[in-house]
Amino acid sequence: MTEHPDNPQTPGADPPLDAAAAKAALHTRRVFLFKLSLALNAAVGVVLAFPLVGYLLGPVLRKKNTASGAWVALGSINDFPIGETRLADFRSPAAAFDDGDTAKVACWVRHIADRQFQVFAINCAHLGCPVRWFAQSKLFLCPCHGGAYYEDGSRASGPPERGLFEYQYQLAGDSLMIHAGDMPTLATQASCNKPKPLTQITPAPSDSAARSEWPA
């Protein structure tokens, strides 16, 4: 490098000639080959970046069938007495092979009347902690920052800016189905809100005798 003959700083040289020499020095075969090697590496790097970044972004780019959820059964409607709010749990339809207990999901099922339900996510709308139902005061309370919700899931007090996340439900005969997928957060409540038709399951005739033992 230092013994390079074309030193543009050579004193006394004719300035335009000097500039031309300097310009020529930037276009030698060596410089060209070096730039070529850089360009080659850049090209290979860009091509390599596609699979690497694609792999890294896998959880984001993954096909929507798991992310947007599926219908899961919570059990017979007879397990949920009218007028009560009970804890139910299910295995997440988005579970992977290595999720263990973390694939279990809990939700609050409120049986309002006859075939009318509300199914709330356990996750507080503030920061996702598990809310607990208090039947006597008809409140959901969050242990983390004290968010409180009324029995219909609407915000009562505390830091949450909205009510509880609510799952869509369908009744397939006597079976209560909810649409679940993503862990519910402010951004990922698609499975809770977006209407999605329940296919291949037709409601059976309602069984009024079974419900009569649970007066409102």
């Binding site: 804890l87 973390t102 409140l139 983390c144 993503d182």
Partner: protein
Amino acid sequence: MASLKQRAIAAGLKSYEWLENRLGLIRPLTAAATHPTPANNASWWYVFGSAATVLLLMQVVTGILLALVYSPSANEAWTSLGILNHNIPLGWYLRALHGWGSDFMIAIVLIHMVQVFLFGAYKFPREMTWIFGVFLLLLTLGMAFTGQVMRFDQDAYWGLGIGASIVSRVPFIGAPLVHLLLGGPIIGGATLSRFFTLHVFVIPGLLLAFAFMHIFMTLKHGVSDWPMPGRLVRKSTYEREYHELTEKTGIPFVPDAAWKDAVFAAAIVFAVMACAFYFGPFGPTGTPDPTIIQTVPKPDVAFLWIYAVLAFLPANLETAAVLVAPILIIAAMLALPLVAGEGERHWSRRPVAVLMVSVIALTLAIFTHLGTYTPWSPIMEAWTADPIPPQYLEGRTPLERQGALVLQDKQCRDCHSLAGAGGLRGPALDTIASRMTEDQIIRQVLQGGGNMPAYGNALSPAETKALMRFLMTLHGDLAPAADASRELAEPTPPPATKTH
């Protein structure tokens, strides 16, 4: 014999020469270690950086040892921690060393930062040293958060939930960011795997590289001289002055200054060992089963202040504050040496710096303290665990006692204390009737407001009446609050006297 000894020494020297000829490292490292440093910085105030480095190395060693047993799988992580705690000889102690080492490292890094800030040591020519230091602080906190996830228990699970909920507040790309953070749509095996990768490969790699750069720059620019009031840092003269000071008063860093570092580092490591021995490892708490909702998730001590701040932010400010404030705080820390790279270094001439440190330290301490007992959270068991104090039931009418039952049964105690027992979310009720009239209490209970839910749907008229009767007996030594206008409107006895 003498000739044998001489020959042995000669052979040793020759091997050393051979090794150094091939390595070329021993001489430069020795020169770096024994470089002259101004005598005035061989002080007990200058020992925190080296102690943080020693703790980092200790964390690397204990972390590698824990990784021999720990299973980073959502199925097995919690169980493998139990095995470390109970089955592997000294496994509990390694976990304790790693956990306490983490807390000590955060504390020492923060103290180091405060010392450098108050001594003005971030100024020219050490701006980049400070900037790398800011990244080291962030990486240390990153290790603490990801380490908390490694303890894959209920706190870790719901801590991830809090992290996902915060990330979900980012506009437009909230959902993809949540999926990226969790490695999928839910907290599970993929989540633990990626936090394991961060905790074991990515962040430690960056931490070691940044620590190397930080130390390299400390050697390049020298350890900052002791600040003197009135001796200003100027870019034009500082390096010459520092050089002259070193020439005049220089002592070799090793051993004349480094012995204090070594003594302090040993004391800190011993303190970690002692804490680990006496207090043992952290957790794990319950299994990471999200259907177990009888849990009160709480972050580790380094993040308690954030947990507390999140309880106090108003709902309409929260997203903005949570997403923008960290960026501003980090940008301010990074910009500090670029904005204030010259001038006074001594703390006695920098009142704003001293004030900033005091206010920030006090704020963090107060929020951390609040985080230890979370006064904003209802105490979920208070309504069944804390009985009505007997003195509040003595001599009361049946209706008033019925009201006490309503108070318990409607979970009022979860947020309101009586005789010091119960939640702290709402005001204590011991003397409530001395502050509020019956009408005011009825309105507050039935309609709520001021961060209290409305109980209109949860109380029957009979329950409300009984509850009011009981609450109106709670006026301590004072007269019950009375509504003067009502007395004028209907001249009946004051509300506290029981006529019916």
